[in-house]
Symmetry: C2
Subunit: 233 residues, 2 copies
């Protein structure tokens, strides 16, 4: 995958950074280092000082790229949504049946991220763990409206919309596609976190992937309620 896609790149809204971290070696070290450290320490204990030490740079240099650790988190999650949207696009290409496309979409959104699908210097497996544990902190703030106006959540909305478009093909009358899909995305992340840390809030069975199964079923049952087509679930 690396070969084929070496000339595509993931873009993130430029209100999120001061200087594009993809534009320099230090910028890339900041991204790599912050993914490692956020995964190790969590958002609360993560600081630019610690990041600078880890990548053998200085606090002041990191501040030239991102105005705060909150913006850095926003960058990483936004990158993740763009990357997920891109993978989704590929996964759905040339599949004529909307039901099959929806099934593949849910599968991609709710499955764990495997190491081997990396396309860049970014460790997507670690990034996935960061998104699970930290991404809701990127919008559950008092600055959300302001930042939303700047377009920093565009990549997330775009991904949700892409899946909603499939639902529209299956049932143009279905009233809650966005609610359904954002519930699937946020929900599956929460369930992965619960499975690891608060197992009594979920139902873990190690054999099959209960999370993928549950949300696939949930979506198709919710849609079947509104229409009575046969589904290849």
């Amino acid at each position: 995958m690396k070969e084929i896609l070496s000339n595509i790149s993931i873009t993130v809204n430029n209100h999120i950074y001061l200087k594009n971290p993809e534009s320099s070696g230090l910028g890339k070290r900041i991204l790599e280092g912050s993914i490692d450290l956020l995964d190790e320490l969590g958002f609360e204990a993560f600081t630019f000082k610690r990041l600078a030490d880890r990548i053998s740079s200085t606090e002041a240099s990191v501040y030239r790229y991102f105005e705060s650790k909150h913006k850095l988190l926003l960058y990483l999650t936004s990158w993740y949504w763009a990357w997920t949207d891109f993978r989704l696009f590929i996964s759905l290409a040339n599949i004529p049946s909307p039901e099959e496309r929806l099934k593949r979409a849910i599968n991609l959104l709710t499955s764990p991220v495997q190491k081997d699908i990396s396309i860049t210097h970014i460790n997507e497996e670690k990034l996935h763990r960061i998104v699970i544990a930290e991404s809701s902190k990127s919008y559950l703030t008092k600055e959300v409206d302001e930042e939303n106006e700047e377009g920093v959540f565009y990549n997330y909305k775009k991904l949700v919309q892409r899946v909603c478009d499939i639902i529209f093909e299956i049932d143009p009358k279905y009233k809650y596609p966005h609610m359904l899909i954002s519930t699937v995305i946020e929900g599956s992340h929460h369930q992965r976190f619960f499975a690891e840390h608060l197992p009594r809030l979920t139902d873990t069975s190690k054999k099959e992937d209960a999370i993928v199964f549950f949300y696939t079923d949930m979506v198709f049952q919710s849609l079947r309620a509104k229409q009575d087509k046969k589904l290849k679930s």
Copy 2:
């Protein structure tokens, strides 16, 4: 309601506080003041210094009740789950049909909190907004396992279990009751936040309460998938 229930009180795991805030006037002012301030400022900008100023006390005095603002948030959310569990208990009393009980439970878990159901000095309407915007920060931390062992999430688990018990009555074979209910609770909170701040991630229709309807439908459709009883949805 205030009259009838004046002798019941909500209990919170004692690992969460240093001194029980319900045991003194200052403690109650801390609870009241923190609910006001958290609602106004959000968790990030909330500090014990600001809280102390607001309630005309001192930082040091607040620290005698809670060892950190994180523990205070944990207290408030835990209180909220106990209160919700209590309301649920009442709402389900003497309703024989498990389907009807489940419907009432989903309704209670996904509806907005109205002012008039207050039983204490706590402003439950504000607390509900805090739970929506901040409660996931109480467990999305690196300390979650440690704190979970101390039992600080017990009230949340208990609430989820209570609803799972109803599902068991309806369909003892259903495999994912905890996933279903925690998805409903977390999901409905997220959707309320989205409706206000990120509307493109949800489907708002101001007339009826789309969120209650959506999750009720979701639950009953998910269960109908596994069984074919008639439901009064």
